[in-house]
């Protein structure tokens, strides 16, 4: 044997060659055997990991079968198997229903293809398949989302990531989804890279904090408040100082106020293009937390605008008041915080806000303005030559993004009942941007997925993953005291690495799938073929000297 054949690259190549020579059934046998070994191996490491892998492999095998009747039979069989298994093992109880729902949703897009088949009777096509394929997927996912508070606590353990997100985490995921959808209008639709989106979140949060807290109570000599302004707020003592306006009005006010700020920020900055715009928005994103931090003595006056680093807390609870509560027969809650299931109420309210955002994004995408945004993203010069006013159109994108960001920020502040300057740092803007990029810029489904996934990682997923690694893989001594280091006593502190992990995710997405996990059909093309956008127009009209 020569030395050359011992080199790893050569051996690898011979393995690849051998693999290529195998027939399809032979390959399947080998893959199946490997998967079986992996599942058995995983069983010794962690039972839930083994179950998860088994489900994953089983589903991937089912996809290779013809859809009717074999795939359907396989899926029914899999659900039945887990149903039977759950009799012997309590922790498997939720797997079978979850699988059933998952498979049901999976069939919906397929029904469209079935509907086009000649062999399907026309009556069945009209009656079932077409409406299913048109709205079915959205309706099914909506049903899964609405019922989330009922099953969230009863779900199986996700392998490695740990327990299923609870309702509280669900609220935060929804708020992040809303912010990501707002940023998607700016970055995904209009192609304006905004690194200071957190500024809009901050504006929204402070709008609620100012008008639904003790912040502007003031104090008379005897200690009683100077200003008492109440309007529709719930659960507030009538003698309590400060401004207390109902959260519902403030959400709308925050959206409008923030979009005005967006226009004001946009007017000077949107003349810039690409990198220059990104840098200026980065600046605004940095200014905002500094103003919040130093706003307790606003511009050297003694006026306390933001209460400085202490933040503004508590913020009034949302609610509809007793009269509306009684009038609707108890359907509308009178006071969220006073409710036993307050997280559920916050969750459904957030869901309504997200649906509102999705609806607006979806309608705008196919409107005159939405087309103009995409046109600007793809070629500013050509868009201007076709009569699209660049500044005005970009400013609308900014204002729209700011509107949703402001509402999301306002709602989040009301949910946390607090707002602090340290919530508004740069890493927040970056996190929202990664959500948009990970999911797929410009695609509503993609952004929803990206927002939900990263928000989950941020809130629970990373901590759970860390715990799993320490329990199962690392030689971690659980009794050791925390030292504040990322690595100590063989344990790893995964949440401390959060932005490193987000960075790796961003890198991986940009390298392997730059159009995002669920791309819009347009974006996909753009990233694979490139866009020639010569900044011809800027050369003369831009505020900066660079460009052409």
């Amino acid at each position: 044997m020569t030395t050359a054949s011992l080199r790893p690259s050569v051996q690898l190549r011979s393995v690849v060659d051998a693999w290529r020579e195998l027939s399809e059934p032979q390959r399947r046998q080998i893959v199946g055997a490997i998967e079986l070994i992996v599942v058995i191996g995983a069983w010794f490491l962690d039972h839930s990991l083994a179950v998860g892998l088994a489900v994953l492999f089983a589903v991937s095998w089912l996809r290779k079968l013809p859809p009717f009747p074999w795939r359907l039979a396989g899926q029914v069989g899999l659900v039945a198997a887990f149903g039977i298994a759950s009799v012997f093992n309590d922790s498997l109880r939720s797997v079978a229903p979850a699988l059933a729902v998952g498979f049901a949703i999976w069939w919906i897009p397929l029904s469209k293809r079935l509907a086009e088949k000649e062999s399907v009777p026309p009556a069945a096509r009209r009656g079932l398949f077409v409406p299913l394929s048109k709205f079915g997927l959205a309706a099914a996912l909506l049903a899964v989302a609405v019922t989330f508070p009922y099953y969230a606590g009863k779900m199986f353990t996700i392998p490695v990531f740990g327990v299923w997100p609870d309702v509280h985490t669900g609220v935060i995921m929804l708020v992040f989804i809303m912010m990501a959808l707002g940023l998607n209008v700016v970055v995904g639709y209009a192609g304006l890279l905004d690194l200071g989106y957190v500024a809009f979140y901050a504006m929204g949060a402070y709008t609620v904090a100012w008008f639904a807290s003790l912040q502007f109570a003031g104090q008379k000599a005897d200690g009683s408040p100077i200003h008492i302004i109440h309007f529709g707020a719930v659960g507030i003592d009538p003698k309590l100082g400060g401004i207390h306006i109902t959260i519902w009005i403030l959400l709308a006010a925050a959206g409008i106020f923030t979009s005005i700020i967006g226009i004001l920020i946009g007017l000077p900055t949107l003349r810039l293009r690409g990198d220059y715009l990104a840098i200026v928005t980065l600046g605004f994103g940095e200014i905002m937390p500094q103003v919040a931090r130093n706003g307790d003595k606003f511009f050297g006056t003694n006026f306390n605008l933001t209460n400085g680093p202490n933040g503004i807390t508590p913020i009034d609870s949302p609610g509809f008041g007793n009269r509306l509560h009684d009038w609707t027969g108890g359907f509308l809650p009178s006071n969220y915080l006073a409710s036993l299931d307050s997280d559920r109420l916050y969750f459904w309210t957030a869901l309504i806000l997200v649906l509102f955002t999705v609806f607006c994004s979806w309608r705008l995408r196919d409107s005159r303005l939405g087309r103009a945004w995409v046109a600007i993203r793809e070629d500013e010069t050509a868009a201007a030559a076709m009569g699209v006013p660049l500044m005005r159109t970009k400013t609308w994108a900014y204002a729209t993004g700011a509107f949703f960001g402001g509402i999301a920020g306002a709602y989040y502040a009301a949910f946390k009942s607090a707002t602090f300057p340290q919530d508004f740092y740069l890493n927040f803007s970056i996190a929202i941007l990664i959500m948009v990029i990970l999911g797929g810029m410009g695609n509503i489904w993609g952004v929803i997925f990206g927002g939900a996934f990263l928000a989950y990682l941020d809130q629970a997923g990373l901590a759970n993953t860390g715990a799993w690694l320490n329990d199962h893989i690392l030689p971690c001594n659980a009794n050791a005291t925390a030292t504040g280091k990322v690595l100590s006593h063989g344990c790893i502190d995964v949440p401390a690495l959060e932005y490193g992990i987000f960075g790796v995710i961003l890198l991986a997405v940009m390298l392997f799938r730059p159009e995002g996990l669920i791309p819009s059909s347009r974006r996909k093309l753009e990233f694979h073929e490139g866009v020639a956008d010569e900044p011809l127009y800027d050369a003369q009209h831009g505020a900066h000297g660079g460009g052409a």
């Binding site: 609806f359 309608r363 705008l364 409107s367 010069t381 201007a384 030559a385 076709m386 660049l390």
Partner: protein, 259 residues
């Protein structure tokens, strides 16, 4: 006065020390096809870009349809009725052919942000009409059946014609075509020049054509203006220009006359 749709007076553009367009006077009569020709680098596209507001002229005036449009922003000039295509095709590549045309209608549609979200009956009606008009224009430009194709998937000739359809959607009085036959073979070129003639008659637009290939414009143009090194060196009917010694010199070099 407006027997001339476009009047350009002493238009000049300097890039640093380089004079790209040197005090050019130029007119386009209503309903005509006028060509601007010249060797590569003669300043034709710079001239075009000044007409459409992409570049600001160093000095001079552009009067369109009786109004001074010098140095107005591109979208405002488009709104007044100058539509254009680009030398190197600049379609919105990831939009469908139909959407490209719809973007061209931007200034003539009204749908604001809130009515668009609510999809009011007015917006619905407007969008419906715009879609119908877009299909009509695509059909006129021989793109029927390709309305829903992504622009970058269209063939080269289709992309050229889609650019024209998109420019027509802005409802121009004056259509500027910047080297529309660049990269076409002789047959495609002949087809396209025939198309330009039809365009003028059927869409009632005045056409200003840029070319560097003299043969293309001879058949179709009413008048031809020749630029060289930013200066206007000749003007007249195609025949007059063809035999102007300065034009021959510019195209073939000074030796050409001696032989």
């Amino acid at each position: 006065m407006p027997d001339h749709l476009l009047v350009v007076e002493r238009l000049r553009k300097e890039f640093g020390g380089l004079i790209a367009v040197d005090d050019v006077d130029f007119t386009v009569p209503h309903g005509s096809i006028v060509s601007l020709i010249g060797p590569n680098g003669a300043g034709k596209t710079t001239f075009f870009n000044m007409l459409t507001g992409v570049y600001k002229p160093t000095s001079g005036r552009v009067v369109f349809d009786g109004a001074d449009v010098t140095a107005k922003p591109p979208h405002a000039i488009t709104k007044r009725g100058i539509g254009r295509t680009f030398q190197n095709i600049r379609l919105f590549k990831e939009m469908t052919a139909r959407e490209n045309v719809l973007v061209g209608m931007h200034t003539h549609l009204k749908g604001g942000i809130v009515p668009s979200i609510l999809r009011t009956p007015r917006v619905k009606k407007e969008e419906k009409e715009a879609h119908d008009r877009a299909l009509e224009l695509l059909k006129f430009c021989a793109l029927e059946g390709r309305e829903e194709q992504i622009a970058s998937n269209l063939s080269y000739g289709d992309q050229r014609r889609l650019e024209v359809a998109r420019a027509l959607a802005t409802r121009p009085q004056l259509l500027l075509l910047d080297e529309p036959t660049a990269g076409m073979n002789p047959q495609e070129t002949a087809d396209f020049t025939a198309f330009v003639d039809v365009l003028r008659d059927r869409q009632r637009v005045t056409v200003l054509l840029i070319e560097h290939d003299m043969r293309v414009v001879m058949g179709v143009s009413d008048r031809v203006t020749v630029l060289d090194y930013g200066e206007k060196i000749s003007e007249g009917t195609p025949k007059e220009v063809q035999h102007d010694p300065r034009v021959i010199e510019a195209y073939l070099g000074s030796g050409a006359l001696a032989s």
